[in-house]
């Protein structure tokens, strides 16, 4: 356990390259998801109400990313107050 922990804080060269490849794959996938945006038109769901945010370029990509970031942040914040030891109710 402690060995892997050390590896995590100071990754070995092979681990670096592995990590780089992983991020490269992710970057390519994300780029592939964005490219069709140039050819597909999204229609605004609430056009009649004057809201066209969801038809803008790449809306679903950035909205998803920030929504998920916000949800993780809120969960972490609430975790400070809500988390207890696993055996809390057994004591």
């Amino acid at each position: 356990m402690s060995a892997s922990g050390n590896q995590r804080s100071r990754p070995s060269p092979s681990r670096w390259s592995k990590r780089r490849t992983r991020w490269l794959i992710v970057a390519v996938l994300l780029a592939l998801a964005i490219v069709p945006e140039f050819f597909v038109t999204h229609y605004a769901h609430f056009e009649s109400l004057g809201i066209e945010l969801d038809a803008r370029f790449g809306f679903y990509a950035w909205y998803s990313f920030f929504a998920c970031g916000a949800m993780i942040a809120i969960a972490k914040l609430l975790g400070i107050f809500l988390k207890r030891r696993d055996s809390y109710y057994d004591e």
């Binding site: 992710v26 994300l30 609430f46 679903y60 990313f65 696993d86």
Partner: protein
């Protein structure tokens, strides 16, 4: 009593089956486990729409056999869940669990065929008993199961009392016991009925019972438990309370409650329990919107949800069964050792995340479509705008906290050194079956759309039901891929800890316990002394009456009967005088 032709209430097949299972053994029992749900499914489809049985109870006419489009859809998926659950449980579950699960499934199907509130209430309470027994059956393997089952029963009996009070009030006010839409009625009774339904749906403040109780069941037990209670509650909301605005707020709260608690949760099956609340929140929100598209969406999502959630729980249950581990922190790298369990888990995870070509994609999007369909003409259009943006965010969130978290921490991540194998063949078959259904419903959604309750809407608005458009596919892929980016970019923040998260159940699990202990200490001391005193007196009295110096009175039984009769006549006399 009047019955049109030969028709057996489908729920009764499983309820009677629950009592037959203990009488048979071995292959016959296995055969019944698979055959009875299929027979039920057949019966569900043989009964034409309408009410076919009336039973007189005092001045009321019960309708325990009313087939409707909504009821048939839910009964169908309940029967399928009982079938696959039985297949998964086959050799592993205890007899008590199997019988209880059939009793529970039969009662749930009974609710879907209830034409009146009294029948509904009876099946509702039978469901509470059946599900408690499913939990109870795991008492030997898991010492936490029994106390959890008692807490579970208390919450549901509480909900039952509120529901019964509401039904009594409703019948008193309207004179009708018919179970139909209550949106037009008003008064306290309606809200009590809604509150009773909401307890079972997992609404706030009592959402905690799901994560408290379900994960203490056996691997197969939780598969059964996940299918019926919350979804029966969604069914009664669809029939009874379509378009009740407060449900939108309640549903949205449930959606995000499930996501936040799911993100914090380390125990795999508790994570699944939180995701039930979150997913059911989508359905409750849709019922609150209340248009035909929204109700179709809620029903379709419930149908798909039962299948992919059962699949996820079969996968998580197999991991628990084969490794004995239930926490993300103890697991990792199992893909190589349990490939079939992993494929099942990943398929379920993709379906719950609404990945294109899975059942979640073609059902959840009906609900989001319902948010914008009539937004321009709605009484509060901005509310629907919020609903759409929040549900879209929550769709991405579903991928985050369960779609990625579950497979990543269990099947990938770093190798935890465990070397299990896939579970028994019958469990694998059950997983293959549900994985197949998750994909089949995604690729051929028309089959599911054809049995949705509101077909007029389907014909009038076919556009809302066309899922595979370039724009929809692209937006969904972007939503999921960038949720994935957030997951891996923020992975250090998602590091799992060996903790639980406090919830409202703290009040009855901790606060009441502490208060109770404090109270018991003082009163118990006092009670002990008083009890000893009373005991001594009674002993002395008996010794006096029957001892050597006692009067030796022997009252003949005839004399006693006479006195009872006198008392009864007295009571009757008083009654007439009143």
């Amino acid at each position: 009593m009047q019955l049109d032709g030969f028709m057996l209430p489908p729920g009764l097949i499983l309820i009677l089956g629950a009592f037959i299972l203990p009488q048979v053994e071995g292959r016959v029992r296995h055969a019944l486990l698979l055959a009875l749900p299929l027979l039920t499914l057949l019966m569900v489809w043989l009964i034409p729409h309408g009410s076919h049985l009336t039973l007189g109870l005092m001045e009321y006419e019960l309708e325990p056999l009313r087939s409707s489009a909504e009821g048939r859809l839910f009964a169908t998926v309940f029967a399928v869940a009982a079938f696959a659950g039985g297949w998964y449980a086959l050799n592993k579950a205890t007899l008590l669990e199997l019988s209880a699960a059939f009793f529970y499934a039969g009662s749930a199907i009974g609710v879907t065929f209830a034409g009146d509130l009294i029948t509904l209430f009876i099946y509702w309470e039978l469901m509470a008993l059946g599900s408690t027994l499913v939990l109870w059956a795991n008492g030997k393997q898991n010492p936490r199961a029994y106390p959890a089952s008692m807490r579970y029963l208390l919450v549901h009996l509480c909900g039952g009392v509120v529901l019964m009070a509401g039904i009594a009030g409703h019948v008193y006010a309207t004179g009708s016991i018919a179970f139909s839409s209550m949106t037009m009625t008003d008064g306290l009774a309606k809200w009590l009925i809604l509150a009773g339904f909401l307890v079972n749906v997992g609404a706030p403040p009592l959402s905690a019972w799901i994560a408290d109780a379900y994960p203490e069941a056996s691997p197969s037990g939780m598969v059964f438990l996940s299918a019926f209670t919350t979804k029966t509650a969604v069914f009664v909301l669809i029939v009874g309370f379509p378009g009740t605005e407060i449900l939108i707020y309640i549903g949205l709260y449930m959606v995000f409650y499930g996501i936040v608690y799911g993100l914090l949760e380390n125990n795999l099956r508790r994570l699944m329990a939180y995701s039930i609340v979150s997913q059911v929140g989508f359905m409750v929100t849709a019922v609150g919107i209340g248009t035909e598209l929204a109700l179709n969406g809620a029903a379709a999502h419930a149908f798909a949800h039962i299948i992919y959630k059962a699949l996820l729980l079969m996968s998580a249950g197999s991991v628990l069964l084969m490794t004995g581990k239930r926490h993300c922190t103890d697991l990792g790298g199992l893909f190589k050792h349990m490939p079939i369990t992993a494929i099942a888990g990943i398929t379920g995870a993709l379906a719950i995340s609404a990945f294109p070509f899975t059942s979640g994609f073609v059902t959840k999007s009906l609900e989001t479509a319902a948010a914008y369909q009539f937004a321009a003409t709605a009484s509060d259009p901005m509310l629907l705008v919020w609903v759409w943006f929040l549900l879209t965010a929550a769709s991405a969130g579903s991928f985050l906290y369960v779609g990625l978290k579950f497979p990543w921490f269990v099947f990938f991540n770093k190798d935890a050194g465990l070397r299990p194998t896939d579970p028994a063949p019958h469990m694998q078959y059950a997983m293959w079956f549900f994985a197949f259904l998750c994909i089949a419903l995604g690729v051929f959604p028309e089959a599911l759309y054809a049995i949705l309750p509101y077909q007029n809407d389907l014909l009038a608005q076919p556009k809302s039901y066309q899922q595979y458009t370039a724009s929809h596919l692209l937006s969904q892929f972007q939503l999921l891929l960038f949720a994935g980016l957030a997951f891996f970019a923020l992975l250090p923040l998602l590091k799992q800890t060996l903790t639980i998260s406090l919830d409202v159940d703290w009040i009855y699990r901790r606060l009441f316990k502490v208060l109770g202990q404090e109270f018991t200490f003082k009163v118990g001391d006092l009670g002990g002394k008083t009890e000893a005193k009373i005991h001594g007196r009674i002993k002395r009295l008996i010794a006096h009456m029957h001892g050597p110096s006692g009067p030796r009175i022997h009252w003949p039984s005839g004399f006693m009967v006479l006195w009872v009769a006198v008392l009864l006549v007295g009571a009757l006399g008083l009654y007439y005088l009143r």
